[in-house]
């Protein structure tokens, strides 16, 4: 079991960024009973004049500051110009100007031993840690982040080990701004992973099945498919049980497997779209209004864009 949630403010690109971080913290906190192992978020803000947001982590290193400094040097050696830097407890967030190719930047960072990339995005960033939403909030202050939309996940691990690297959301290396949270298991993971490694030439950063969904969708989007089409193809090509959410620079999407095995409820008003594994999460944000919520059925795909 895992819990997923997402929220999008439809008019936030025109009317100003919304309290997406705060909403998702409350939603994931109310879903904590679906998974205590780890919690994670993608928060999507504005395009920042072509700047990139880089989020990395130093793993279990004894000297995180040294490693983070090396990673930053690697960024600068390939032409990255760091505009702002925040580092805490082995985590690093950089805001940078970079003109080159994303794979070149990512590879340069990964050559620093002990560094894990959580995300590279033009507007999105991934924040994840072990424990519940309440546990991680003092360390990361996700609640203070504003955005147009975002997705989140609480994990009860089934497929790979419990640590920060294997927490959701998964970023689709080496694309920008495609991240996925997933409730379920993929049974053709190894086959598809080999395919994407051998034929697509992709590199996977973890051995978690959910990472494949992010790469799968990013690959389809890179080939020119719409998000809706990419999600539809996944219903045929991914085997197993899944209800997953994808976040891109422009919106969020949902896909539910052919067995309708994993829950999801959705609600939509003129201003906002919210989705979650359980209604309790919607009610944690929309406390004082009558909710008209819907439950997507098997093989259903939904997308919304800001």
């Amino acid at each position: 079991m895992c819990g997923i949630s997402g929220i999008m403010y439809k008019n936030s690109r025109h009317q100003g960024l919304a309290p997406v971080g705060n909403d998702l913290v409350r939603m994931l906190d109310s879903l904590a009973h679906r998974g205590h192992d780890s919690t994670g978020y993608t928060i999507v803000g504005e395009n920042n004049d072509g700047q990139l947001i880089l989020r990395i982590w130093t793993g279990e290193s004894e000297h995180p500051d040294v490693i983070l400094a090396r990673a930053q040097e690697a960024v600068e050696q390939v032409g990255g110009v760091v505009n702002s830097r925040q580092a805490w407890g082995g985590f690093l967030r950089l805001n940078l100007n970079y003109e080159g190719e994303i794979p070149e930047l990512a590879e340069a960072i990964l050559q620093t031993e002990g560094v894990v990339i959580h995300s590279i995005g033009e507007a999105s960033e991934v924040i994840k840690d072990v424990g519940t939403a309440s546990d991680m909030e003092p360390r990361h202050q996700v609640g203070s982040l504003k955005g147009t939309h975002g997705i989140g996940h609480v994990r009860m691990a089934t497929e790979s080990k419990v640590d920060i690297t294997h927490s959701h959301p998964f970023w689709a290396y080496p694309f920008t701004d495609v991240t996925v949270v997933h409730n379920g298991q993929l049974t053709n993971y190894h086959k598809l992973k080999r395919h994407y490694e051998d034929v697509g030439g992709y590199r996977f950063l973890t051995d978690n099945d959910s990472e494949l969904i992010a790469v799968y969708l990013a690959d389809k989007l890179a080939q020119g498919d719409s998000l809706t089409d990419a999600l539809r193809y996944s219903l045929e090509e991914l085997d197993g049980t899944f209800t997953y959410l994808v976040s891109t620079k422009d919106g969020i999407g949902v896909a539910k497997d052919r067995w309708a095995a994993k829950p999801l409820v959705t609600m939509e008003t003129d201003d906002v779209v919210a989705v979650a594994s359980e209604e309790i999460a919607l009610r944690s944000v929309f406390t004082d209004q009558e909710l008209d919520r819907a439950e997507p059925q098997e093989n259903e795909v939904l997308t919304w864009s800001v």
């Binding site: 209604e279 309790i280 059925q297």
Partner: protein
């Protein structure tokens, strides 16, 4: 009359308070359920429970006797294993409503999710709107009435019992078949709809088991040589 505020009680405290009030056959009102799980579970005495808002998973499950009205939505497995009594939900139910119910009545005013009435063993499940994928999966006894449409694989591997569908049928499940309801069936059905305040009378179709899965229909090679 007893009024309980779910906001200030844990699920266990709330259910213990309901059980205590049910002993005297009280009318119980539950406020602020906020879609939380396990509300009104394991109530075994006759009483009347009104829940003012949406409930989460397993609401009014493992019950024997009470009459429960829920003004809102329900999560997965509303009324699981109901033995007797009645549950009326005004809006939508999640997946697996009335799972393994043995008796009594469950009425869903809106739509139901996937696997409505899975493994039902008795009683009546009435759905005012549509029902999802695998409705009546492996049902063994009882009656499911869907006034709207049903999704794919309705009645898959059902042993006994009947499913009535007023709208479109996505597809039939393995071993299910459609038959015309008899006049007695329809009189009974319309009585049920009237009782539940449902005014539409669509043309219902009746789905029952073909019972071909009761026995293996081909022999193993060794068995053939023995025949």
């Amino acid at each position: 009359m007893v009024s309980l505020d779910a906001h200030s009680l844990s699920a266990r405290e709330l259910n213990q308070a309901i059980k205590k009030a049910a002993l005297t056959g009280s009318q119980i009102t539950i406020l602020n359920p906020q879609a939380r799980h396990n509300i009104a579970v394991g109530i075994l005495d006759s009483c009347k429970i009104d829940i003012d808002g949406s409930v989460g998973y397993y609401a009014a499950s493992l019950m024997d006797g009470p009459e429960v009205n829920i003004d809102g939505n329900a999560g997965w497995a509303l009324g699981e294993n109901l033995m007797s009594g009645k549950i009326v939900l005004t809006k939508d139910a999640g997946a697996s409503v009335a799972a393994s119910m043995r008796g009594g009545d469950i009425v869903v005013g809106g739509n139901a999710g996937a696997r409505a009435g899975i493994s039902m063993k008795g009683g009546t499940l009435l759905i005012g709107g549509n029902a999802g994928f695998l409705t009546g999966f492996m049902m063994q006894k009882g009656r499911i009435v869907v006034c709207g449409d049903v999704g794919d694989a309705v009645g898959d591997s059902m042993y006994e019992g009947v499913i009535y569908v007023g709208g479109d049928i996505g597809s039939l499940g393995a071993d299910a078949k459609i038959i015309e309801p008899s006049e007695t069936d329809l009189i009974e059905l319309w009585g049920l709809l009237e009782q539940s305040g449902i005014n539409d009378r669509p043309r219902f179709r009746k789905i029952v088991s073909q019972k071909k899965l009761y026995h293996f229909d081909n022999l193993e090679r060794l068995e053939m040589s023995a025949v």
